[in-house]
Amino acid sequence: MPVFNQSRSNIIRLIFGALFLVITAQLFNLQIVSNKYKRQAQENALFQKRIYPNRGIIYDRKGKAILNNAILYDLVVTPSQVKNIDTSYFCQLLDIDTAEFRDRILDAKFKNGPFRPTIFEDLLPPDLYAKFEENIWKFPGFNLQERPIRIYPFNAAAHIMGYVGEVDSTILKRSNYSYQLGDYVGRSGLEQYYEKQLMGQRGIEFWIKDNKNRLVGHYENKALDTAPVAGKNLRTYMDIDLQQMAEKLLGNKVGAIVAIEPKTGGIIAMASSPDFDPNLLTGSDKQKNFAKLNLDVRSPLLNRAIKGQYPAGSTYKPLGALIGLDEGVITPASGYDCRGYYYACSHPVKCDEKNAGHAATLRLAIAHSCNSFFCNTFRQTLDNPALHSARKGLMKWKEYVNAFGLGHRIGVDLPSEDGGNIPDTTSYDKDYNHSWNSCTMVTMGIGQDKMLVTPLQMANSMCIVANKGYYYVPHFVEKVDGETNVDTLLNRYKTKHEVLTHIPEDVYDVVISGMQDVTEIGTAKAVRIPGINMCAKTGTAENYLVIEHRRTKLKNNAMFVCFAPRENPKVCIAVVVQNAGYGAAWAAPIGSLLIEKYLNDTLSATSAKKMEQISNTNLLPKYLVRLQFVADSSRAAIRAMQRHDSTNYMKYINPSTRAMMLDTLGRFKNGVPVPPVNPMLKPKTKIKIKEEDPSTR
């Protein structure tokens, strides 16, 4: 009996063995062959937390931080931990109602699940933060989470500093995916241009998360973590006080100011108006504010100092003189008998001075800004007998002007600079079918016609004049903290551009003397600063704009270029006030005030008064009101058509509100019509009110 069936024990052993073989094979497959599971385990349990370094700080020339970092706090909620909280008190703190509270909690659950923290309210204002900090223990499930943001302590230099925003797909692609979605990156200004220096190096922390995606602890005791490296600080040439003053002076005006230190090319101030508070683009209402700024027809986001293209007007004249002198078509003693018009071409060119002898010499012609003299000089330059043709003359002239930095991008360290326009023969060939002569573009001699320059170029050309022949590419950043010399980014700003050294110094002296005379006896004598020898040139440029399909002549642009002191130029300034009128009236005082402030470090009492007066003057072109109205009402109309909701649109149709919105004469104040000022009517209205008073009682 015992021996019976004994062979079957081997079969059983075989079955047992087979199982172990199968298990071994599968374990081998899972643990040795397949890599999939290791990766999935990492995805399951590892969380790579990116640690963002502080971005670099931007300092001005005196070491004040213009762009700094601050920490704001987000209120985050982990829905599953929210228990027994005083909802009404909580809502009262945040100024929301309980329904909104419930909605947001539901929203958070939906977004990130109940176990992970979700932002409940982002970027708490400091006072609210203080309240929550004090009471956070009363609200289990709620936490305050740090969020570094950029702040602009001086509320100034918005266009120059730029702002940071989330990366978009193009930046992602261009960066070869070194950025990730949700990263912040400089989107304009220095923030964008010096992104690499400012961003620093991200750190990575490996965290372990559990089955509910909660972070449990550091992985491998931080052995694999890399610490973030803070961004490098930028030292700029800017003078934030001057910058603020420049922005203030441009208040309620459209225009731009550029102030450059000629010896280094460092930009001391660069203002563009209308501007905006840069802090608008950092806080929680960033998106909303950006949309608002973007829809403003006055384009506050546009940096007119590098993108605004203006006819140079009379500010070009010193350059015209230098070219004429160097070409030998005029001498310092040359003059022009101007009687108010330049008649040599078919269309007479008007000159603002009529009295004889105002252009007796070059120096006088500059001082009095004689149009006839410079039209003549320009024509002589083009028709230079040495060159045999106006065509060659124009190209030669263009060569000079380009060398002065006009007609091409100079290469300032800001993104999207514009180059202005200096026309060449092809453009005239096209317009005039190859038949043109020096008379065709004679007004180019006084900075009109097709010549367009940016305020930066104007300031830079003054640097060349002040330096007598050389310039450094204008730039903001003097040095990057901790940057070695290997970096080539700033080297191009350290090279001297000696472009016009063939013009001898005494020639420059003549022109500079003429420019000094502008402030002594000429167009800008009203803005002379006692004790400072300022060389300047005013400009009043005609300009046209296509408004509603009509080429409209607008009020003249006021321009002013200057440098001071004459003996040792420390600052060159270009001022453009769009559609303001005479350069001497509006631009020159601004330039002079800035020079006074920069060189003397203070303003005299009269200057301070003048400054207030200028900054309070509203010179916004009136057509902007209409343009804004057209833009807004069209948008409202489209919306009304698409959504069948005309509530918003009605106010553009209603005659009274319409009149208010289109008002440019100050007839309304805060939506209430201001009664016409008529001294005869005043007592009457007063009596009327008195009569009404008892009846109402």
């Binding site: 374990l27 643990q31 999939k36 599971y37 399951n44």
Partner: protein, 447 residues
């Protein structure tokens, strides 16, 4: 005293006792690794009896004490009380119906207060094993007779039926492992082959489209007739036999399997079976869908999730593993049920391929040793009992490990000596120590 001690330890197979000790040690360590919380005082929590590993340690010690008592017992005690114990076991299982507590879908657990719970279906394996051995070793049992075979089958499967009625499918399946014992004692191989074929057919039914499967079956039948055409000419009986088999197979595939799935199994069990073979289960009606949803709501994700996480945990262990307490998957609760049914993940992740192979090696050693012991018994009772122990261990091991590595459906079957659970550990320990006791008296003929 010394003499008596010598008498007790005489003939005891210490290798088995050592293997038991090592396996239980691994078990406590694994449960510790799976449930330890960062920052707990290790010593304190082991003594505190507040967590799983301290409980398991207690069961381990308790098991050791019981084992010692068993070694002190006379072997004849087991033969004498086998049938009585069986009756007791069945009674316990019947008592479950009025007194059960519903825990995680099964209705097979009786609770005594909060601390202790008993699963009679688990304990009953032991009694079935004794009783079956007793029946097979009876002098008047002629196992070559169908009647005896049927009685033996009834003894083995009666608790299985009760277990299914308690919605405890996993433990019910365990009782099928006793067919290995019967096979050893002379159950025709055909029965096992037919059983195996049936299993293959059921799986094929699930995996393949029913018409395709019917075509395949028809093809196989046609092929068989073609190959055996000479014999068929001589003997029409073969043809009828083949057609009969074909008819049965198609019948099973068409009607029996769907019937079992719809009426015998719970919807969630069907889903788990589908999950194991990697197919989506579409609940037949709203009630079944609701039931599945309820199952997955109670903290327990569906079987597919369990298997996936378990495979990730084991797979991420690599060659030598991440080390004790370093496994991210098991430490942070990605694998559900990791102290009980999925305890193998902790070992697979913590100690990798090498560790898993060592554990499997120990089990293999244990099984081979038990078979060797079985074959050296003089009495049929001891041999049958030994094979019963081996079969139950084998089945637990096969289903549990295959389940964690994605080769078998998820059914709640523990890993012997390692999974957390008092009943399970004590039952296995008693089974093993009775074997050691019987083996110590292998020269005796027990009936």
């Amino acid at each position: 005293m010394n003499q008596k001690n010598a008498a007790i330890s005489k003939g005891v197979d210490w290798s088995i006792v050592w293997i038991w000790f090592v396996l239980c040690g691994i078990g406590v360590t694994s449960i510790f690794a799976a449930t330890y919380h960062e920052g707990d005082n290790i010593f304190q929590s082991f003594v505190s009896l507040k967590n799983d590993y301290s409980h398991q340690l207690l069961f381990f010690i308790f098991g050791g004490i019981i084992g010692t008592f068993i070694l002190l017992t006379d072997s004849k005690f087991f033969t004498a009380t086998a049938n009585l114990l069986y009756a007791f076991g069945i009674l316990l299982m019947l008592l479950v119906f009025p007194f059960h507590t519903r825990v995680m879908g099964t209705e097979s657990i009786i609770r005594f207060g909060n601390a202790f719970q008993l699963q009679p279906a688990d304990l009953c394996k032991l009694f079935v094993n004794l009783s079956l051995a007793k029946y097979l070793s009876r002098v008047d049992t002629d196992f070559s007779k169908t009647r005896s075979q049927l009685i033996a089958t009834c003894i083995a499967l009666a608790p299985a039926v009760l277990s299914v009625m308690q919605h405890e499918l996993g433990l019910a399946l365990v009782y099928f492992s006793f067919f290995i014992v019967m096979f050893r004692e002379g159950l025709p191989a055909n029965v096992l082959i037919i059983g195996f074929s049936f299993a293959v057919l059921v799986v094929a039914t699930l995996v393949l489209d029913k018409n395709v499967l019917a075509l395949i079956l028809t093809g196989i039948a046609g092929l068989a007739i073609y190959i055996l055409r000479r014999q068929v000419k001589r003997n029409r009986g073969i043809l009828i036999f083949i057609v009969g088999i074909w008819f049965t197979c198609v019948g099973i595939q068409r009607f029996v399997v769907p019937f079992i799935f719809d009426h015998v199994f719970q919807a969630y069990q069907v889903k788990r079976i589908y999950d194991a073979i990697g197919k989506d289960y579409v609940p037949k009606d709203e009630k079944a869908a609701l039931e599945i949803e309820q199952k997955s709501k109670g903290g327990k994700k569906d079987g597919n999730y369990n298997v996936k996480q378990s495979k990730i945990a084991i797979g991420s262990g690599g060659l030598i593993g991440k080390g004790l307490l370093k496994g991210t998957q098991t430490r942070y609760a990605f694998v559900p049920e990791q102290a009980t049914d999925f305890i193998f993940c902790t070992i697979g992740e913590g100690f990798g391929f090498v560790g898993s192979m060592v554990l499997m090696g120990i089990y293999f050693l244990l099984l081979m040793r038990i078979v060797t012991i079985a074959e050296r018994q003089r009495s049929v009772f001891s041999r049958c009992y030994a094979y019963g122990v081996a079969s139950v261990f084998f089945f637990h091991l096969a289903v549990n490990v295959c389940m964690t590595i994605g080769l078998a459906p998820v059914v709640g079957i523990s890993l012997p000596f390692i999974s957390y659970g008092g009943t399970s550990l004590i039952t296995f320990t008693i089974m093993l120590f009775i074997l050691v006791r019987l083996d110590a008296d292998r020269q005796m003929v027990l009936r």
